[in-house]
């Protein structure tokens, strides 16, 4: 049987169920964020590891121009190398009739027979390449899907300058090509990047590489030292056109995926504590006010001889029921949302399977934090009540002493009517309580503002990237370096209104122990199409005497303007340049480094060389222009800004960035939860007074005004708090959402506060309306008869 005290517990929970649910919800969503983020992060990183292991992804990649196969033996003997394979890898173009421009393709060889020892593929659909069928290929599944291609279809491709008809035998997936970017693109785009697997014989013939390989792949032993392996491999391949071996961390697809997971990791470190802390803080406020309203009953229990322990236990059970209930619901929803999200990510990252896993620690932390903060809120009040003698605790709340307000109230009296005065007096009388409630609502509003601000910033990032940084309509990339004469060729095409060159050079940037494998982009000193911009979005003039690097790069290399940077060129003669950093550019995506193009070419001793151009075009002549570009063999790829923009938006919507929607939704729930709770508690504290007012002749409207007026003032007080909170939170959240793929600047828009303010207002009006309904239904007699 339950004790009388336990019965009280159940009845009280039942009586306050709406409020208990609202509080439970606040804590639940805090836990949801924790469990979901943890689940996502764990699942992605585990899936990645498992996928890499299962398909034996190589740890070192060494491209060369032409290396005879017997070199593989030497490579295998390099200390730290576990196994090595040689394969042929080249570039090509896929010509699809429905596409305006040819699409860049990576073409990779598969052994004619036997297992693929490194960088294995997963055949998702169709069949393996038949022995001896030189025209059969496997095609990257995501590319095929994006274009509606199926096994059995034939496509036309340009390989090593020759047009060929190829038959798709099957569709394959590989951990090597999860996210790939076409040259000139800002974000991975399935449509714009093809991978073709062909038999070694067939590809050897196409590239004239019989008995040779153009890329060596390595797996390493456990104790291998990567830099030493890279050095030795580079030495061996130096005479065969080796362009520099690199580790998995610099492999394009892996780098993106790692960045994304790192982004999630940062988010899962920053966001859950913020959400949980705010939820916990609100829980604390709400619980303490709730217990406060039980003061008389606590006194009565003490008067009967219940010990402080017993009374505390009773209220702790009450608080725990709500906190644990909320936390458990949060765990369940968190797993569910995390799973759904992981499914989405699985599609985006093209994993053939998904390992979903939540660290049990996340559940434990979620529940413990909820329980702990709820209990702390309860304990705080209980201690205060226990400090009173039972006689004092039980006494009907002493009619508050309004005499102190003195001169101020005298002025108030002249200006306001009776109900208004009651509102003002009460707030003046309990400033702490009003401030606590305003703090809670302010925290909710700040969270909403920060989340909304984050959403807006994402849109801004896209706008700014395309309106200020890249203002071209199209980027074309040449198959090989071209002389500046090509610019004139492009200029002469009908429909091209403006042409600007760029040169991209693969480099390793080094500052002491910090290094970055990337590219230096050479641009005109004052370009019009693609520009480096400072933090106010003003264009930066490029210099000949020094390099301008993007902010994330400056951070990664731990370098600031004035310091010297080593630039190890990974192309041609492979010189190492030394240059000062002369400026830091704001960047919204990637980690570029800029140099005046003439200076870059001079440093490389390759005057007048360019790797591509930015075009401005006349929209009306778009179609014939594409045809003309398609016909130009020098062009390896052309990307339309509108398509890049789409791809970029997709990146931010489907990857870690999409978390911003969930965050905003959760912020909205928390905001509503706290506003509603504040209204309910104010009502509970006042129901007896309000009933008295009704009894002595106040109308429903006037009575409601006394309560709702108090709520309104609380909400008004919450606004500045919300703004302060929002500014701080935005800075923290933005940090969590920036990755190497895109930087989210910390620039919260005033509109974010406007929207958050409206959210708070709507919550308040709705809560006010709910409470008003309760108030109208207030049973005057029973409200007066018993004290609650």
């Amino acid at each position: 049987m339950f004790s009388a005290l336990d019965k009280k517990l159940f009845r009280d929970l039942g009586r306050m169920k709406m409020q208990a649910i609202a509080i439970g919800l606040v804590i639940a969503v805090g836990v949801v964020v924790l469990v979901m983020m943890d689940g996502l992060f764990n699942s992605l990183s585990q899936t990645k590891t498992t996928y890499y292991d299962r398909y034996r992804l190589a740890e070192v990649y060494a491209p060369a121009v032409r290396a005879p196969k017997h070199l593989l033996e030497n490579l295998a003997n390099v200390p730290g190398v576990d196994s090595v394979i040689g394969r042929i890898r080249g570039g090509g173009l896929v010509n699809l009739p429905q596409e305006d421009v040819p699409i860049t393709a990576a073409i990779v060889s598969l052994p004619d027979h036997g297992a693929v020892r490194l960088n294995d593929i997963y055949l998702a659909e169709g069949k393996q390449i038949e022995r001896g069928r030189e025209d059969q290929i496997l095609l990257l599944r995501s590319f095929a899907k994006a274009h509606g291609l199926q096994p059995g279809d034939r496509i036309s491709a340009t390989i090593n300058g020759a047009k060929r008809k190829l038959e798709i035998a099957g569709l394959a997936q590989s951990p090597e090509f999860l996210l790939s970017m076409a040259p000139g693109d800002l974000a991975p785009d399935d449509k714009r990047y093809a991978v073709i697997w062909m038999s070694e014989t067939s590809l050897g013939a196409a590239f004239d590489l019989k008995g040779a390989f153009s890329e060596a792949l390595f797996s390493l032993t456990r104790d291998a030292k990567l830099p030493e392996v890279l050095d030795r491999v580079d030495q061996i391949l130096a005479n065969y056109g080796g362009t520099g071996a690199y580790g998995l961390e610099d492999q394009t697809s892996n780098r993106f995926l790692t960045e994304e997971i790192k982004g999630l990791a940062t988010q899962s470190k920053i966001l859950p504590p913020i959400f949980l802390a705010i939820a916990a803080f609100l829980l604390n406020i709400v619980i303490s006010r709730m217990i406060q309203s039980e003061r008389e009953q606590i006194g009565l229990l003490k008067a009967f001889g219940y010990s402080s322990m017993e009374v505390s236990a009773h209220y702790f059970k009450f608080v725990l029921a709500i906190a644990i209930g909320g936390a458990l619901v949060g765990c369940l929803i968190g797993v569910w949302v995390g799973r759904s999200y992981a499914d989405l990510f699985q599609q985006y990252y093209k994993f053939p399977f998904l390992v979903f896993r939540v660290d049990p620690q996340a559940f434990i932390i979620g529940i413990l934090v909820s329980v702990f903060t709820a209990s702390a809120g309860a304990l705080f009040v209980l201690r205060k009540v226990f400090a009173l003698t039972p006689a004092v605790a039980m006494r009907p709340p002493a009619p508050a002493d309004y005499s102190r307000a003195g001169g101020f109230m005298a002025a108030v009296k002249r200006i306001f009517d009776q109900p208004t005065r009651m509102v003002l007096r009460r707030i003046a009388r309990h400033p702490g309580r009003a401030f606590g409630a305003a703090l809670g609502v302010g925290a909710g509003m700040g969270l909403s503002a920060a989340s909304i601000g984050l959403m807006m910033t994402f849109t801004n990032v896209v706008d700014q990237t395309f309106d200020y940084v890249d203002r071209s309509d199209m980027t074309v990339v040449f198959a090989a370096l071209r002389s500046t004469d090509t610019l004139n060729e492009l200029r002469s095409l009908e429909g091209v209104t403006h042409v600007e060159p760029f040169r991209a050079v693969p480099v390793i940037l080094r500052n002491g122990l910090h290094s970055h494998k990337g590219a230096v982009t050479g641009l005109l000193a004052n370009p019009q199409q693609y520009r480096a911009v400072d933090k106010d979005l003003n264009p930066i003039t490029l210099r000949e005497d020094g390099i301008i690097i993007a902010k994330p790069l400056a951070k990664k290399l731990a370098i600031s303007p004035g310091q010297k940077l080593f630039i190890e060129v990974q192309d041609g003669e492979r010189p190492t340049l030394q240059m000062p950093v002369v400026g830091v550019a704001e960047t919204l995506s990637g980690a570029p480094a800029y140099l005046e193009i003439g200076a870059l070419n001079r440093a490389l001793k390759q005057p007048n060389q360019i790797s591509g151009a930015y075009l401005q075009i006349d929209e009306k002549l778009q179609a014939p222009l594409y045809e003309a570009l398609k016909a130009m063999p020098v062009i390896a790829g052309a990307s339309l800004k509108s398509k890049s923009r789409e791809a970029f938006e997709t990146l931010m919507d489907q990857s870690a960035g999409s978390m911003r929607y969930v965050m905003s939704f959760i912020a909205a729930i928390i905001t509503f939860g706290i506003v509603y709770n504040s209204a309910r508690i104010a009502f509970a504290e006042r129901s007896r007074d309000l009933a008295s007012l009704r009894v002595i002749g106040f109308t429903k409207g006037e009575t409601a005004f006394v309560l709702l007026g108090e709520l309104a003032i609380m909400v008004i007080m919450a606004v500045p708090i919300g703004i302060a909170f929002g500014l701080g939170l935005n800075a923290a959240i933005v940090e969590g959402f920036s990755t190497d793929l895109y930087q989210i600047p910390n620039q919260i828009q005033p509109e974010a506060f406007g929207t958050a303010g409206i959210a708070v207002l709507v919550s308040s009006v709705f809560s006010g309306w709910m409470v008003k309904r309760n108030m109208d239904g207030l049973d005057l007699v029973s409200a007066l008869k018993t004290r609650e």
């Binding site: 008067a303 001889g305 039972p390 008869k785 609650e788």
Partner: protein, 243 residues
């Protein structure tokens, strides 16, 4: 639980010396008790009379271990209440004291019976909750919530609650204030039988001067002090007093 206080030696249930209670401080200080000296033998029925605000409830609260004194001493048998710490006071209330408050003070979310059980569950040798309610004439209403009871009925629940634990002392702050004469009489009957049958020391605060006739001792209170103590040589039963 640690300290038990079953051993009570002596015949004096309560003895106070210079008992003082001051609420607030400075200009706003209210002297509710100004040095009260009383002796109450065990097993007596005591009635406290006095004008409103004279400090009757304050005295009851201190003797009942609900409030602390500002100065002076209050002894319960050979235990000094004013020296007791929180834990001992809790035990004292739990084991020895039955309260009937001036305001009924029922738990709104518990039924009449559960309100009584709230106390009997932690008492040493309680009577059955239903039986206690039957004694105050509420047999039919045991499953009603306070909001469903009249003021007098609520007061009787409060009395049943105090009686049910069979306390050593009972403090009743205006137990009949809200009752008609017939119910008032039956409530007093209950208190009298508790006093006579169980030997419980009973202290009743009342404004109904006639009640004094059934007391062993009548204490007249005024302005925070004892003005006069009268010992009744003969006392009436509850049925005999006039309202």
């Amino acid at each position: 639980m640690g300290i038990h206080m079953h051993q009570m030696t002596g015949d004096t249930a309560f003895r106070t010396r210079g008992l003082t209670k001051v609420y607030g401080s400075g200009a706003a200080a209210v002297h509710a008790l100004r040095g009260v000296d009383i002796d109450i033998p065990k097993g007596e029925m005591v009635v406290l009379l006095g004008p409103s605000g004279s400090g009757k409830s304050t005295l009851l609260n201190i003797l009942g271990g609900l409030d602390d004194a500002t100065d002076g001493t209050a002894q319960f048998f050979d235990h000094d209440l004013t020296a007791m710490r929180e834990r001992e006071l809790t035990l004292y209330r739990r084991e020895h004291v039955g309260f009937v408050f001036q305001f009924y003070n029922l738990m709104p979310s518990l039924t009449a019976k559960e309100n009584v059980e709230l106390v009997t569950e932690i008492a040493d040798d309680p009577m059955d909750a239903a039986e206690a309610l039957a004694r105050v004439g509420l047999k039919e209403r045991i499953n009603h919530f306070p909001a469903q009871l009249s003021g007098g009925e609520q007061q009787r629940v409060a009395i049943a609650r105090a009686v049910a634990k069979q306390p050593t002392v009972m403090f009743c702050d205006e137990p009949t204030g809200a009752l008609d004469s017939a119910t008032g009489r039956s409530v007093l009957n209950v208190l009298q039988s508790v006093n006579q049958d169980l030997g419980t020391t009973v202290m009743i605060v009342t404004h109904a001067a006639a009640t004094a006739a059934m007391a062993d001792r009548v204490i007249h209170f005024a302005d925070g002090g004892v003005r006069e103590v009268i010992r009744n040589t003969t006392k009436l039963t509850a049925d005999e007093i006039e309202w």
